[in-house]
Assembly symmetry: C2
Homo-oligomer: 240 residues x 2
DNA sequence: AAGTGGTCTAGACCACTGG
DNA sequence: CAGTGGTCTAGACCACTTA
C-alpha cells in the first residue's frame, strides 16, 4: 500500500513536480498551452492521482500553471513576476544589523479623522483616531518617520503605550495577530516637518510607503513611512 | 467513502484551515505554543487525517504555523510580514490600464563589463555584455527608463531583437521561462541622461529598482529601472 | 457522455522526536 | 516505546466544460 520516500530520495510528489517544472523551464509548453492531464501523469509515473494532484496544485500555487476544472492544466499565461518583499519590523531589522535602535516620539494624541483618513479606517469623518509620529533612529541616524493612525475601537489603549520600549507595529501585532493589507511604495520629497525630523533637505528624495492594515475585516491602522532615500532601500527576491 | 463538498459549502479541509486560522487570529496560542495534533483535529472534525494534514500544510506554507516532524505543530514564532509585490511586465501593466505602450530605444550595443557589472553577471571584467537603454512611454508620457545588461551566453541574439515590438523582459522570458532573482528598491534622483530621457527635472525624486535575474543558476540580466516619482508607484498586498 | 480537475477517505508505512 | 508529522494509495463522488 503506502510507500515512503526511499532513504534520502525525493518524495514522489516532489519528483513529479520537479519533472514538470524542469520541462516548463525548458519551454516545452508555450504559455497557455495545454499540459498533460493528471491521468497522463499518473500513468507516466506510476503513482496515484492524489500524488500527481498535489504536485500540480503546488505548481499552481507557485503560479507556474493554471488549472481549470473540467478543462485541463495549462502553462501559466501571464508570467507573474511575483516578488516577495519581506517587511520585517524595523526594530528587528536594525538590531539584526547589530545597530542600536532608538525612537523619538514626536507626536502622540487623539485627533478627528479627516475624510481621507476616515475612509481608510472605515470610520465616520470627524471620528476619533489615534495619531502617533515616531522617528526611528539607526545608530542615531534618522531612518524612518512613521506617521501612524490607529482605529481606537481595535486598540483602545494605544496612546498609553510607551513606544520607546515597543514599536507600534509590534504592539498592534500583539493585539491583532493576523494582518492583511495593501500598500503603495513611491518616491517623493518629504514634507517640511518630515525633513526636519529626519534631518534632511526638503529636496532629498524619500522612499514613502503607505500601508493600510486590516484584521478580520476590520481596518486597524494606516501608516505613512518616510525614509531618506540615501539611507534606506528595500530588498527582496522574486520568482517565476 | 469519498464525500464531496456539499453544494456550495466550504470544503472540509478549508473548514479546518479556517477554524485554526480564526483561533490563531484570536490569539488562542502564544507564538511558539504547541497546537492540536493532527489526530486531535481528526477527532474534533470527524474528517480523515489527509484532510487535516492538507489544512495544516497550507497554513505552514502561509507562515502561520511551524511544524516539526516527531514533535508537533506550533503557532508561528516570528510573525513574518511577507508582502507580495506583483511586478508585471510593464507592457502588460500599461495595456491593462487601457493606455498605449510605446518605447523609445535610446541605446543598443555591445560593451565591456565593468567590474561591478561583471560581478552581477558572473563574468570576467571586460567580458562582452549587451546593453540596451529603453524608455517606456505610457500614452506618450515617459514612465520608465530601463537600462538593461544581458549575459550574451544566455541570449546571443538579444541585440537583434526589435524592441518596439517586444519588451526585453518578454523576450528574455521566452528564452528562459523560469526566473529567480533579487532586487532593491530605492528613492534617488536620476542621472542627467535619465532626466533628459524621462523629460523631468534632475531634482525630481525617482523610484529606482535594480534587479538581478538568474535562470537555472546562471545570471541572465541586470536591470536598472528608473521611474519618475510623480508618475509611478508600486502597489502590493501583504499578510500575516 | 466523456474527460478534466477538486476533494475526501481509510488505512498504511515511514522517519523523527522525546521520555 | 508512543506520539508526531510526511507521505502514498486505491477508490470514490462531485462539479464543471466541451462536444
Amino acid at each position: 500500500m503506502g510507500k515512503a520516500p526511499p532513504r534520502h530520495a525525493a518524495a514522489p510528489y516532489a519528483r513529479v513536480k520537479q519533472h514538470v517544472k524542469a520541462q516548463l523551464a525548458r519551454g516545452r509548453w508555450r504559455p497557455g498551452a495545454l499540459m498533460p492531464s493528471e491521468a497522463e501523469l499518473v500513468a507516466k509515473f506510476g503513482v496515484s492521482r492524489m500524488t500527481v494532484n498535489r504536485a500540480l496544485r503546488e505548481l499552481q500555487g507557485e503560479g507556474l500553471v493554471d488549472r481549470i476544472q473540467g478543462v485541463g492544466t495549462f502553462a501559466a499565461r501571464r508570467t507573474r513576476l511575483s516578488s516577495m518583499l519581506t517587511i520585517r519590523d524595523l526594530h528587528e531589522e536594525i538590531e539584526a544589523r547589530g545597530h542600536r535602535h532608538r525612537v523619538r516620539v514626536a507626536l502622540k494624541r487623539q485627533e478627528r479623522a479627516l475624510p481621507w483618513l476616515a475612509r481608510q479606517l472605515g470610520l465616520e469623518t470627524g471620528a476619533a483616531v489615534f495619531h502617533t509620529r515616531i522617528v526611528h533612529l539607526d545608530n542615531d541616524a534618522p531612518l524612518q518617520c512613521e506617521d501612524r493612525y490607529v482605529n481606537p475601537g481595535v486598540a483602545p489603549d494605544y496612546l498609553k503605550v510607551d513606544f520607546t520600549r515597543t514599536t507600534p507595529t509590534h504592539y498592534l501585532l500583539e493585539i491583532a495577530p493576523l494582518w492583511e493589507g495593501t500598500y503603495t511604495i513611491e518616491a517623493a520629497v518629504p514634507t517640511a516637518a518630515e525633513a526636519r525630523l529626519l534631518g534632511i533637505e526638503r529636496s532629498e528624495p524619500c522612499l514613502v510607503i503607505a500601508r493600510r492594515t486590516v484584521c478580520q475585516g476590520v481596518p486597524v491602522t494606516f501608516a505613512r513611512l518616510v525614509h531618506p532615500g540615501s539611507r534606506y532601500q528595500l530588498e527582496g527576491v522574486f520568482e517565476a
